[in-house]
Amino acid sequence: MTTLVRVNTQALSVTHVAYSIIGIIQAIITELGLGPKYIHENWKALEDGLTTWLEEHSLKTATMEIFTPTDSLVARVDLQISYGSFLDDERQFYSDLTAAKLAARKLGRIAQSCRYRFVVTREYWHTPVSGWSSTTLLSTEGLRRRAVGDLIGSPGIRSDLAIWIR
């Protein structure tokens, strides 16, 4: 019985955190006026990748980079993932979209010519998922990191948001 409950809680945590990550990214880009086209064009890769890597605990960070047409980073959003047992909170599952939208305003005015992309960091032993390719994060030179806080929570996985701004 305990095993069944744990398995179920783990599956619920994975679903909750995977879609909360995508939801927070969508909330931020919508707030910035950039539009969700990229997310929905890459939907299958995003949901398959995030759920697979959260399930096997290989996902370390989910990052959104906002950059100019010349690939210069103008802002960055990091969702740092923590695995563990977080059972003693009032609410089992939460995702703070309001805090994400407030954080988006701190990113400043983003030119509509900017684009964004989703980049993840994983443990070296992660399962490969179709639709993803290797890349290098853009330089954060000239940007400073600001912690926003714990925005996504579930009994088995949590995520903290940090932003990089000028």
């Binding site: 879609y19 939801g23 919508t30 969700p36 949901e47 599952f93 509509q112």
Partner: protein
Amino acid sequence: METERRIASVPVRSVTQTSDRFLEFAAAWGGSERIGDLSPAAPILRALILDRILQRSPVVVEYESHRLRLFCEYEDEALDISPEDEDLPSRLPHPVGGDVSWRMVVPCPDGLVAWATDQAGMAGITGWFVVAGPDGKVQSATRAPSDARAEMGGAVEIDTEALQRLIDQNGRR
């Protein structure tokens, strides 16, 4: 007649499964025998499910005088949804071989309304799929899909908020 259902989303269902559930309801009450006919609406529904607007503003499936209001629940509230809350309502008696006039009205927040309207236009689902803005006003996909694509290619963009601010400022002078 007005019927209401609450659909459990994340973490009980994935966003894709939630969107499929909305389309099952629409197929049951709307005019389509095949859910595949409705699937071009899925990306827009997924964006709205992620946005959580459907927690407070329902998707409304309308057929003649019948209205089915569909809300979405998340997190701990989703875990409390019972199977009865989500029962598919009885299929409405559509006239066999006749024109079935039904529509699915989806509420859109400010930041998604332009994208959703364009998306609906490009998917060719403007007949039965209706995007409503935050003020409840129906948005129409006035541009042909090719025009919408051309705009995304980097044509002129109008900052409507800035324009409104200018109009307001001039009005005050």
